[in-house]
Every structure is written in C-alpha cells, then in structure tokens.
C-alpha cells in the first residue's frame, strides 16, 4: 500500500509441444503483463523469431465484436461474460467461467464460426427488411394522414345530430383538404383483393363495404341516400395520384356512387376515416415493434450455440494475444513478462504442471543498478484496500507513479477529505451528500456500471459530517455546540470560543499550516523516492530536493518570525545566513555539478563547453522559481478557508432572507421554502466547488513536489481483459 507492488520479471522457455498448454495455463492464472522478449536488453534476444502472424487472433476478435454487436442490439449478455464480470450471476445456476465452459469443446473453426455469425446476420437483415416494408406502408399512410384534420379540428359534421353511429371522422366540406380525393362506389367482390394490393402501393385508404352502415344511419336519421342499403366502398387517395388511381378504378370495374348524409344544406359531405387510419398506423407500428422483438427471440432460440461460439472466440482471441508476445527457436518458445512477486510461486507451479516440468524459468528482480538485462520500464500495480479505491482512481487519473516510488493514495485520501471537510463543514449537508453517494452507488451497482464517483461522494459526505460536528454547523444552524471552534460565530464577527481558533485570521492561518503540512509531505515523499532510486544528486539538488526543503523550511520560519514581530523584524543576520544563505549558495553549485556529471566519461572533444553566465542565470531563475513557487503554493491553501467562509456566509444569508419572510418572529412556510432552496443551492454549488478545489490542490500543490506520473500501468492478460 505505501509503495507500488514489488514485481518480478519472468523469462521462460517451453517446448513447442507444450506451447498451447502453457498458454492456457498462463491465461487461467491471468497475472502476467507480457512484454516482447526483445525488450530484454541482451544480444541474443534480437536473433529470435516471432510467431507466424496470428491473423486468426484478429479474425477471432472481429467475429467476437460482431457477435457482441448483435447481442447488444437485443440486450443479451452471454452468461459467461456476466460471470467473468462478477455481475448477473444467477443463484443455483452453474456460473461457469469462460475457460471452464471452453473445456471439452471442440477446437473452434473460425470459418464455421463466421458462417454461423453470417447466418445470424442474415436473420437480422431479414427482420429489418420486413420492418422496412412495414415502414414503407406507414410512410404512405402518414402522407395521407397529414392531409386530414387532427383531433381538435374535428366537428360532429351534422347539425342537430348526436353521434353518428359509426365512430367515423369529420365531415369533409367540399373544397377543403384539397390534396385528397375521396371516391365512393362499388367494386366487384372478386376484384377487391387484387385492387387492394395494387392501390396499396400508393398512399391510400381503401375501406370496402363501409356504405351499408352509413346507409343504416342515414335511414335511421330519416336522411335519404342514393346508395341506401347497398354496400359502398370508400377509397381515399392523394389528388396527385389521380391519373394512376383512375386507371386502376377503371381496370377493376369501379362504379362511382354518390354517398350523401343529408343535412339539408345542399353540401356534399363525406366522412374521413381518420380513426381507422390512426388505428391502422398504430397496428403497423406495433407490428414493427414485434418484429424488433423477434430479433431477441432469434438470439434466444440459439443462445446455447451463440454462447459457446462467443466463449470459443474469446478464448482464441486471448490465447493468440498471449502468443503474440512469444518468440521462437526451432524447438522452443520463449516469453517474458512481469508479475507481482507474491504470484511467483503460483505461476511456477502452474507452468510446471502444464508442461509436466518441461520448462525453464528465469526470474529477475528489478532494482536500481541491478541486473542490466532487466528492461527499464517496470509496470506498476497500486494495490490498495477496496476502501481506498476511489482515491486510487484520482491518482491514476493524474498519472501512474514510477515503479518503486511511494504510492500516494493513502495521503491523497487523508488530504482530499481534510480539504473537503474544511470547505464544506456541515453535518446536515454532509448527510445529504453521504446519502446521494450511497444511493448512487447502489443504483450504479444494480445497473452493472460501478463507478468510483459515488463512493468518493459518500466519503466526502462523511468527512463533512465530522467537520460539521467540529464546527457546530447543522444545515447552517448551531443546533449543538461545536466540538472545536464556532465557524459560524467567527464569520458573523463573534468570538470563536475558548479554543485556539478565534478569528477569521486564525482560520486562514489554520489553512496555511495545513498547506505547509501538505507541501512538506510532498517533499518528504520526493526524498524517499529518490533514496529508493539511489538518486543522490537529485535528493540534494533536484526539484523538491533537500536544499529546496531547507529553503522552504527557512522561508517559512522567516515569514512566521516576521509576522510574529509585527512585520518589523527579521531574524538576525547570522541566522538568516545559515537558514537561507547557505542553501542558496549550495544551490549555485548545481549547474556546475550537472555539467561535470554530464561530461563524465565523454571524450574531451565532445564535451559541452562551460558558460558561466548561463549557469548564473540558471541558478537565479531556479531561486526565483523556488521562492515564488513555494510561496504561492502555500498561500494557495487559503482558498480552503475562503470556500469554508463562503459556505457559512451563504447559509447566513439564506437565514436572513428566511427571517425576512417570517411573521411575528415565527418562520412561515415561505421561510422554510427559502431555507430548503438555500440548502439545496449551497449543497450543489459549494459541494462541487469543494470537490474540485480539493482535487486541484492535490494535483497541483501536492503532486508537483514528487509525482512524475510516467509509470506504465500493470495490465496482465486474463479472462477479464477488455
């Protein structure tokens, strides 16, 4: 936890005949971050050949991705994939892993797999094509529907009459809806089917035998109808298709009939079948939806085969990925990789078992000045307890520490939460934030999309609860006395109490102390890292080295001395000379020493020349950077106080507004509303600010003292690999 995980490098040789078994064993153990054997800086590695290009790895991957796409289309997850991810495991069911399921299976034939997936793709395409046909029909009907009035425009159509019996559409006054042609007539029954098919290719609604119901209504209402008793067909088309429609009507023997629901005004009215059309559209959309659901059934029907296929492809892909790192001789295969030192025994046992002892294993430990054949870039694993994972993700977001350096995660956890707590100290607000974090975490786990943000929010909430109790703040009020100092009281101008923090200046000073602690911790981490790397020059003269630390400590002492003497007096000359003068002078040696180190072992004619002025400039600029940089870094922590004060001030302001809305000194409903909104606003705004500023202070003021961030993350190939 304090440092990155110790790694071991494995260089292994197995016989050709054992290669597949060894690869499977390595995949199963899943702890090796493979490197190309050629990365080992030794002469012999360059003479090794690579395995023949594993095109089938790419093919397996391509097929697996295709299958994944089809699965995602229908929201289907192969059970083995869910098992590997640790989600979707069903109780009572055999929750096999990829490897377990693949055991005993026939070796995968990629051509056969491709055929199977093509078949699935073909089924998908057929269904989509059917959907498209339905869509064509929908579009034709929609075009017609657009010309008809909507719900609000409908009238009862006939004066003095109630419902018209048939739940038909509105009356169509002559001349309106000019793009529509309504035909009423009769068609020989034997021609209806063929006519329906042909007319269906145009935007149209053909309703056979609608006239008989209309005739009954006409009869019951005492109106006359020329078509009384005779079944009347309705045909509604677009005027622009008239010529084609006329041709079809003539072809199939249509006889026009006048349909009139007499209303006494002499107008010829015909009802539009809007409801029928809407119902037809609805049923077509339903049909499309059913077809879409048919895709799920297609996959479920062959889920067993598809799952096995997916498993086989996944295994092939991973095995070939591993083998992509192998190098070969005539009879053996060589590979190399990094793994955590604690896994060494397990890997040794696994390989020995898989190859029945026919393998050669060589182990190397990376350390400074050690084995020259060990590649420089060792992968880094940060192994922190589950509770610290959210903070580990913050560190990883910035960069990966170099191998062997201090893992800053525990420090980040402490500092981040401390900063947040100082800026957002309120029990009530902290409780709300904690709840948001807990609920969000639970929901994201249920959805199978676990993130680190909600646990982080929960921690922040908890920290804010603690600091809220320390400052005596409960949703902006002092419900209970503070355990440390009265933040509200100090901001309001009252005495802070008996403690050491009584005034706003004390709060600011507190945050400066905090900043000094953070920066000093960063410097110490830097020194430890340099010692571990045996970088003695960097330890003393490097950025954040001992000399810089000395200057920082001296500067801090001097500043406090000055402030403590009413800004009138500095420490005595000899003291200043020792404290500040000496390290400054020693720093002047840096460019000289760098020059000497750089030219060590270099032939005289290739050495860089000495430029004294450059060295002096370098020294002066570095001094300027140290003094101004560390001063500004320290003062930067005053923002913690600033935000904390802003938090309190905002709550005070909302309380004052709530009091203004009070009646006779008692809070009204408006007062409580104001307080509710105010608290919500403060939690949202201040919470976000505090979170972001804490992150910034960690990343910039803390990490800049020691964090290089150029490490390579440990990425073993396992069944859980992406």
């Amino acid at each position: 936890m304090i440092t990155t995980t110790s790694m071991q490098q494995l260089v292994a040789a197995v016989l050709k005949s054992d290669m597949e078994a060894a690869t499977e064993a390595l995949l199963k153990v899943g702890v090796i971050d493979f490197i190309d054997v050629r990365e080992i800086p030794a002469d012999w590695t360059s003479r090794l050949e690579r395995l023949p290009a594993t095109e089938d790895r790419e093919k397996a991957r391509e097929l697996r991705l295709r299958l994944d796409a089809y699965f995602r289309t229908v929201d289907f997850t192969p059970q083995v994939k869910a098992n590997e991810a640790g989600s979707g495991q069903k109780p009572g069911q055999k929750n096999e892993s990829v490897q377990e399921q693949s055991q005993g299976q026939e070796p995968l034939d990629l051509s056969e797999a491709e055929r199977e997936i093509d078949k699935l793709g073909g089924e998908f395409r057929k269904i989509r094509d059917k959907q498209k046909e339905v869509q064509e029909e929908i579009l034709r009907l929609q075009e017609l529907r657009r010309q008809m009035p909507d719900e609000g425009e409908r009238s009862t159509g006939r004066s003095g009459s109630g419902s018209s019996g048939r739940a038909g559409g509105p009356a169509l006054a002559k001349g309106s809806h000019a793009y529509i042609t309504v035909h009423t007539g009769v068609l020989p029954k034997e021609n209806r089917a063929a006519f329906g098919k042909e007319i269906g290719k145009l935007p149209s609604v053909y309703l056979p035998e609608q006239g008989s119901a209309a005739a009954e209504r006409a009869a019951s209402n005492g109106a006359s109808s020329a078509g009384g008793g005779e079944p009347i067909d309705f045909l509604i088309t677009l005027k622009r298709d008239n010529s084609r429609v006329e041709g079809l009507l003539e072809k199939y023997g249509w006889e026009e009939r006048q349909y009139q629901e007499g209303s006494g005004d002499g107008q010829d009215k015909t009802r539009l079948p809007v409801e029928e059309l809407d119902a037809k559209l609805e049923s077509l959309r339903y049909k499309q939806q059913e077809l879409d659901e048919g895709l799920s059934r297609t996959v479920e029907e062959r889920s067993g085969t598809l799952e096995r296929l997916w498993t086989g492809l996944r295994m092939r892909e991973l095995l070939r990925t591993i083998q992509g790192y192998y190098r070969k001789t005539e009879r053996t295969y060589l590979f190399s990789g990094w793994l955590p030192a604690e896994k060494k025994e397990e890997v040794t046992k696994t390989l020995m078992k898989a190859t029945e002892g026919r393998c050669y294993l060589e182990w190397h430990t990376p350390h400074k000045g050690g084995d020259p054949e060990v590649p420089k870039q060792v992968p880094v694993q940060m192994k922190n307890p589950e509770a610290l994972r959210p903070f580990q993700s913050l560190v990883e977001n910035y960069g990966i520490p170099t191998y062997g350096s201090i893992d800053p995660t525990p420090m980040v956890a402490v500092f981040y939460l401390a900063m947040f707590a100082l800026m957002f100290g309120d029990v009530g607000h902290g409780l709300v934030v904690l709840l948001v974090g807990l609920i969000g975490d639970r929901r994201s786990r249920k959805r199978g999309k676990k993130t680190m943000i909600f646990p982080l929010i929960s921690y922040c909430g908890a920290a804010a609860i603690v600091s809220g109790a320390l400052f005596g703040s409960y949703f902006g009020t002092a419900l209970l006395p503070p355990l440390w100092f009265d933040y509200h009281g100090i901001v309001a101008g009252h005495d802070g109490g008996a403690g050491s923090v009584k005034t706003m200046s004390d709060i600011l000073l507190l945050t400066i102390y905090f900043g000094i602690a953070v920066i000093t911790t960063g410097l110490v981490i830097n020194w430890v890292n340099r010692i571990r790397k045996h970088d003695w020059f960097g330890l003393v003269w490097g950025n954040g080295g001992l000399l810089v630390g000395w200057i920082y400590a001296a500067g801090t002492y001097t500043a406090f001395y000055f402030a403590g003497h009413n800004y009138k007096e500095l420490p005595d000359g000899p003291v200043l000379l020792v404290l500040l003068g000496l390290p400054v002078l020693l720093l002047a040696a840096k460019p000289v020493l760098e020059h000497i180190r750089h030219n060590r072992g270099v032939p005289p004619q290739q050495r860089h020349s000495v430029n004294v002025l450059d060295m002096i400039m370098e020294w002066l600029v570095e001094l300027l950077e140290i003094f101004s940089g560390y001063l500004s870094n320290t003062l930067s922590f005053m923002r913690v106080a600033g935000l904390g004060i802003a938090h309190v001030s905002l709550m005070m302001a909302f309380f004052q507004i709530a009091e203004m809305a009070a009646s006779n000194g008692n809070f009204t409903i408006w007062s409580y509303l104001i307080l509710l909104l105010g608290n919500a606003l403060v939690i949202g705004l201040e919470g976000l600010s505090a979170g972001i500023q804490s992150l910034r202070l960690n990343y910039y003021e803390f990490f800049s003292k020691y964090f290089a961030g150029n490490g390579r993350a440990y990425a073993p190939i396992s069944l859980r690999s992406e």
Partner: protein, 354 residues
C-alpha cells in the same frame, strides 16, 4: 468589446462544451472498421446521436436514420438562433435557409419527376422536413400540386415564388431543373451575404471570409464538374456561378472555358488558394477520381479555414460558424458510413468515399 462578450459569452460556453462531444477521427476510424450496421448503431448508442440511431431498430429503414440525423442538424442550428438577438440571430436564421432551400429543391424535384417527366415510381416524399424554418412553405402543396399554378401558390409569399415564376417555362417546356436550382442556391448565398453585412465589423470580417471560401469552393466544384463532364459549348454559356465568393466572375468564366479540369483548377486556385496548387499536380486519368481528388482538396481548404476560426478571438460569430460547419461535416460522414455499412462496403471502400 463588451458588446461582443455579452452577445457571445453564453453561446460560446455552450458551443465549446459541445465541441468536446464531437466524434474524433479515432471514433470514425472505429466506425469504418465495424463489420455490420448493428455494430455502428451500438457504437453510436452512447453518443448524442443515440436517439436518432434508435430509428433503425424501430423501422429497419436506413433512410429514417438519415432523416433523423438531418433533423438533428437542423434543430441544432435552430437552437443556436434562440440564444442570440439582433443581427447575429438574423445571421443564424440565414444559415437555416440552407436547409429550407434544400427541402424546397427536393420537393420540386419530386414534383418535376412526377408531373413533368411522368415518372410514377418515384422515391416517396416522406423524408422531407415539413417544419417551419424561415418562411411558411407548404411542402405538401408543392408535392401535391397538380399544375404549375398550384406549385407557385404553394410558395406564395416567400422569396421562392419569384424564382419559381421566372423558371416555370424552363421547367415545363425545356425540362430543365438546373436553372431553378442555381437560382435557389444563389438566393441562399445572397441572403446570407446580406445578413452578414448587418453584423458588427468584427463579425462581418470573420463571416465574410468563411462564406467567401464556401462560395468559392462551390463554384470551383461546379466548374470542375462541368469541364469534366459537359463538353458542349452551349452548356459553357450557362451561368452556373454563385455570387459572394472571393474569386471574381471573370476568373470563373475563364476557368469555365478551359478544355480540361486541370487547366481550370490551375486558374481558379492561382489567385486566392495558391498554397493548395501542389495538389493539382497529382494526375488522375479517370474524371471521377479527379473530381474526388478536387472535392477532397476543397474540403481540406474549408477545414483549414474552420480551424483558423477556432483559434481566433472567441467572442465573434466565428466559433458558432465553425461549430455549425463541423456538425454538418460530422453528420454527413456518419450518414455515409451508415449507408456504406448497410450496403456492405468495406473499410477501404468507405475511406475512398470519404
């Protein structure tokens, strides 16, 4: 300065965050590598186009997806208008005119195919944008017009009425849609330039530069097409040029009279785009390949101009223009990829297209 800040402060912040949501070259590369349209659809499921891509699951029709993306583009530009006032809002409204002109042109083509050429089996007209963009146009009126009189009635009260009225004879009797389409395009660019003239000095300089480049590129594309594919002297007398570009009409006419596209391109690029002339050296014997090369060159010129806008002073119309251009380009590429995957084109085939 304060005025520019006030005008563009908010919308700039919005646009800058949206620029971050645009798909990267890597995203497009991955899409092109997809082996099925299902892969493309699921890959885009976590982007801003998720809703539009759902159309494929709902209808099985790639055109529905295309139309949804087109509507998305229109709504994006329309939304930007509501955050502006005064001349800047009018300018954005003029940008919307592009889509209105496109819709009118498509509706006219539909009407022309059915009523003039007598084709009964035409693409249905459902995937046309019916919403109001700038003017109240009765698109259904155009589609369903039974004669030219009703056609003009459908666009009555809009600037298209005069354009149509002038060209009805050519459409009906000479069977020429070309002139009306040119005039409609000219109407768009003329309106755009007029609205540009009303902008503040700083905005005007920025907008004019981009519009001039776009018009130049349109004119260059037309000339190269004509010179490559239409040899007739009669056609060479046509007025195919759009107004508002930086290349003068005399240069355009001279280029138009050339025998070959290389000569034409040489003349066109000399004055304002000389740094791109080296591209014309690549000889392609196939006129389609040559045209493809030219179009890629033109896209490159416009992209460079847009990148310049994004590097410039942020509180001008430039950021908005750049975003609109990038959004159009993105959607155009997406549509190409989606169609290509639907029809089974390989990655290499798509790269050649794009």
């Amino acid at each position: 300065m304060a005025g520019q800040l006030k005008t563009y402060g908010f919308i700039n912040a919005k646009i800058r965050s949206r620029l971050g949501q645009l798909l990267s070259d890597r995203d497009f590369s991955n899409l092109m590598k997809s082996s099925s349209i299902e892969e493309v659809v699921t890959a885009l499921g976590s982007t801003v186009y998720a809703k539009e891509l759902e159309q494929y699951a709902a209808t099985g029709d790639v055109r529905a997806v295309e139309f949804a993306l087109y509507s998305h583009e229109i709504e994006t530009v329309g939304e930007l208008r509501q955050y502006l006032q005064g001349p800047a809002a009018d300018f954005v409204e003029a940008l919307l005119l592009r889509y209105e002109v496109d819709t009118v042109k498509n509706a006219l083509r539909f009407w022309y195919d059915r009523n003039v050429r007598g084709r009964t089996e035409t693409e249905h007209s459902s995937y046309l944008y019916h919403g109001r963009l700038v003017h109240s146009i009765d698109i259904d009126g155009i589609l369903n017009a039974t004669d030219s009189g009703k056609l003009v009635d459908a666009v009555a009260g809009s600037p298209y009425e005069a354009v149509l009225s002038r060209n009805l004879d050519r459409i009906e009797n000479e069977h020429q849609m070309f002139y009306v389409e040119i005039e409609l395009d000219s109407l768009f660019y003329t309106t755009l330039m007029n609205r540009t003239a009303q902008l503040s000095k700083q905005d005007r300089q920025v907008a004019e530069r981009v519009i001039q480049v776009e018009v130049d590129l349109e004119n260059i594309d037309r000339i190269v097409r004509f010179v490559s594919f239409y040899g007739s002297e009669k056609q060479r007398s046509w007025n195919v040029f759009l107004p508002g570009g930086s290349i003068g009409f005399d240069v355009l006419r001279e280029a138009f009279r050339q025998r070959g596209p290389e000569e034409a391109l040489n003349i066109l690029l000399t004055q304002h785009y000389s740094s791109y002339k080296s591209f014309t050296g690549e000889h392609k014997s196939n006129p389609y390949e040559r045209l493809h090369l030219v179009e890629n060159l033109l896209r490159q010129i416009l992209s460079d101009e847009v990148r310049r806008l994004l590097r410039g002073y942020p509180f001008t119309i430039g950021t908005l223009l750049a975003y609109v251009f990038l959004k159009r380009k993105e959607i155009s590429q997406l549509v190409s990829i989606i169609n290509a995957k639907y029809y089974g084109l390989s990655e290499e085939g798509i790269r050649e297209l794009l």
